[in-house]
């Protein structure tokens, strides 16, 4: 095999361009004459959040389009890889809105990107259905008439997981926090619950994101603080590394509890039950929760390449289905005209789907549905692949999320 310079440079340039190849249209759902609604799945196809969003989110969106069926207009699904960078995400969204005629952007993991895209959607008067960002600011100080926050947020996680830990006697906390918008929001929201319940935060470290692999230093600092609970305000591979190393350093064996404030079922899979057993976490969807979630999962499972949907990816099914219902009711042509108008119609219609069951969307853009506190099973309790959770507690829809009046969203009158 011989290589000349030119072909070498071509090869190298091609390889370097691979991450940028995300934003390609990936086929039509149905080809008919008439109006076409375009759904852009803006997600992490290549980084740390790929398994909780990425191709799994795309499959859930396609499932929603398929289940919705034909209602006299076309639906086209596009995908884009924002690489967890706000600037890359904003560029793709602008290109979609300005050039490709995209009407709605969905998924959008990573809070910093989620906040940026909410801004772009408002500026262009389009729709943003954010399932995978966590920051509660999306329905608080940064709320817009064009964005719906679908699945979960930092307030709900703090209340459910944090509240349960304090109730169980964990009244002194040390935070290990990812140093960006999401980590800060999660630490802030959890701190409020800890303090409101009479607990104390005795310390916190902020670790660089991304780029931290070793958490042992932070874990030793946390242990030295003598806090009863170590709160992990991070996500994805950071959480996996921190939990793995906490087990290695025997943190829990010495009586300290680990509060994993955000963990998805895919993280449990990555940790293995032996390491993850006994951890508690909060999700708003679990594939084995009830008949409807099992039915949804069995429909979508074959398209997932051995992955299972977490609440984040499954939330896109719910949001796209609801969007399409509203578009059918108001007319696809009208839905294309004004994103804010479409979102306000979405808020007016109660929601009902296999992922969240029945729910509604509040005027600040918060989709409310129950939140579930799970405990990770012991290896011997698990009966099959992905049989990981047992349900500890359900928080009712009206109590799971931050009260409307406390968020500081300018859209809320009163």
């Amino acid at each position: 095999m011989t290589l000349d310079r030119r072909s070498l440079i071509r090869t190298a340039a091609l390889a370097a361009a691979v991450p940028a190849l995300g934003a390609l249209p990936s086929g039509r759902a149905r080809a008919q004459a008439g109006t076409t609604l375009k759904i852009g799945v803006l997600t992490d196809m290549s980084g740390t959040y790929r398994d909780i969003s990425g191709p799994t989110s795309v499959a859930c969106v396609r499932q929603a389009v398929q289940d919705f069926g034909s209602h006299g207009f076309n639906v086209e699904v596009l995908t884009g890889d924002h690489q967890n960078k706000p600037d890359v995400g904003s560029n793709i969204a602008r290109q979609w809105f300005d050039r490709d005629g995209v009407d709605v952007v969905v998924d959008v993991p990573t809070s910093s990107v989620g906040l940026a895209i909410a801004g772009v959607a408002r500026e262009k008067n389009k729709v943003c259905l954010n399932s995978t960002s966590a920051t509660s600011d999306l329905t608080g100080s940064a709320c817009t008439p064009n964005t719906i926050h679908v699945t979960y947020d930092t307030y709900m996680l703090a209340r459910s997981t944090g509240g349960a830990m304090v109730k169980a006697g964990g009244d002194t906390w040390f935070f290990i926090t990812a140093d960006y918008a999401f980590g800060h929001a999660l630490e802030r929201d959890t701190t409020r619950f800890v303090q409101a319940a009479g607990g104390r935060v005795v310390g916190s470290v902020k670790h660089p994101f991304p780029g931290t692999t070793d958490f042992s230093s932070f874990l030793v600092q946390a242990q030295a603080s003598r806090a009863k609970v170590i709160g992990l305000a991070n996500a994805g591979v950071d959480t996996v590394n921190a939990v793995k190393q906490a087990a290695e350093f025997g943190v829990t064996r010495r009586g300290t509890k680990i509060a994993v404030l955000l963990m998805f079922i895919n993280d449990v899979h990555g940790l293995g039950l032996r390491t993850a057993q006994g951890l508690v976490c909060t999700e708003t969807f679990y594939w084995d929760l009830n008949d409807r979630t099992r039915a949804f999962t069995s429909r979508v499972k074959d398209k997932l390449n051995n992955n299972y949907p977490a609440m984040s990816s499954a939330g896109n099914y719910a949001s796209v289905l609801h969007y399409l219902k509203v578009a059918a009711e108001m007319g696809a042509d009208k839905a294309k005209v004004s994103g804010a108008e479409t979102v306000s119609r979405m808020k007016a219609m109660p929601t009902d789907d296999d992922v969240f069951g029945q729910g509604r969307i509040r005027e600040d853009g918060r989709w409310v549905h129950p939140a579930y506190l799970f405990e990770v099973k012991k290896p011997e309790e698990s009966k099959g692949p992905w049989d990981y959770y047992k349900l500890l507690q359900t928080t009712a829809a009206d109590e799971a999320f931050r009260p409307l009046s406390e968020g500081g969203c300018p859209l809320v009158r009163g």
């Binding site: 095999m1 011989t2 290589l3 310079r5 070498l8 440079i9 090869t11 190298a12 340039a13 091609l14 390889a15 370097a16 691979v18 991450p19 290549s46 980084g47 740390t48 959040y49 790929r50 398994d51 990425g54 140093d179 470290v205 902020k206 670790h207 660089p208 991304p210 780029g211 931290t212 692999t213 070793d214 042992s216 230093s217 932070f218 030793v220 600092q221 242990q223 030295a224 994805g236 591979v237 996996v240 590394n241 793995k244 190393q245 290695e248 350093f249 025997g250 010495r254 998805f264 895919n266 993280d267 899979h269 990555g270 940790l271 293995g272 032996r274 390491t275 390449n305 051995n306 992955n307």
Partner: protein, 294 residues
């Protein structure tokens, strides 16, 4: 209890020790890079991906073939090293006469392709790999609990680094290698098969990365990005130590691990940046690196 700069002394000792352990990974990875750069003149950007492959091969051996950690420690470097040899023969060997930049582009592209393939197949949330039973205990050092496994990592890394250094500096084979770097044509004229030696050297450098990968598998998340997170820091380590200096790479690896560990106590937010700040300072003051010859 005595305080040092407002930090309790035991905590500080603990952090020094942990820094040293992380430094062991930097040392092993930068050692492989330094060996490859020193003898092949190739800046091996695939190193992080090969580190990752080492961990994945260990996982595959366990889950697909039931082969445990200790055999993986031997087999995984051999397998990944063999893949390295193939890569060197097929692709990299064509670039020796060209500028560094071409080797860098090629190996960078390869790294992206390899990581993409693994991500497509295994996803991004990682795989579980257990600490071997024999090393799963921990020691009470008084100022902290140290998992036995971390102690093993430091010892294994130190032995591996010392061994590599001895081979290159003190053996006949090492002398051939060093001579070939200086003047390949002359060494070849003495009847030494230089291209084969270079190929095997690349394989050995890659095997070092894979060895580090197996060591990392039980304590870090085994996922396709695990190498790219480390590799940039490791390049900084090599630059600080001096390109091509074996001992420099090893010592700098341990040293920067310790500095990073201390930064995690005094200013955690900066712990990912501190290595690069040091790199800038070293490049300004000693452009050839701490141990490099200008």
């Amino acid at each position: 209890m005595d305080d040092i700069f407002g930090i309790p002394a035991p905590l500080l000792f603990g952090q020094l020790l942990l820094g040293l352990i992380n430094g062991a990974f930097y040392a092993m990875l930068s050692l492989g890079l330094a060996v490859i750069f020193g003898l092949l003149n190739i800046i091996n950007f695939t190193h992080g991906a090969q580190f990752m492959m080492g961990a994945f091969v260990a996982w595959m051996l366990l889950n697909w073939l039931g082969i445990g950690y200790w055999w993986a420690l031997l087999l995984s470097p051999l397998i990944v090293g063999a893949i390295g040899v193939v890569l060197e023969r097929l692709l990299i060997s064509h670039l020796y006469k060209l500028d560094h930049l071409y080797g860098l582009l090629l190996t960078f592209g390869l790294a992206l392709i390899i990581e993409g393939l693994f991500r497509n197949y295994f996803g991004s949330s990682g795989l579980a790999y257990r600490i071997p039973e024999a090393l799963s205990d921990s020691w009470d050092l008084g100022f902290m609990f140290l998992p036995v496994y971390r102690g093993w990592v430091v010892v294994a890394a130190a032995v591996m680094c010392l061994g590599t250094w001895l081979v290159i500096e003190k053996t006949r084979l090492g002398a051939y290698l060093r001579a070939a770097t200086e003047n390949a044509a002359l060494v070849q004229a003495f009847g030494v098969n230089v291209p084969r030696m270079v190929t095997l050297t690349y394989g050995a450098g890659v095997a070092l990365a894979a060895f580090a990968g197996v060591l990392a598998a039980p304590i870090y998340s085994v996922n396709p990005q695990m190498g790219s997170n480390l590799i940039i820091v490791v390049f900084a380590v090599v630059v600080i130590g001096g390109m091509g200096s074996i001992m420099g790479a090893v010592l700098t690896g341990f040293l920067l691990g310790v500095i990073e560990g201390l930064t995690k106590v005094f200013w955690p937010e900066a712990s990912a940046t501190v290595v690069f700040v040091i790199m800038v300072i070293v490049l300004l003051v000693r452009p050839a690196g701490l141990f490099g010859r200008a």
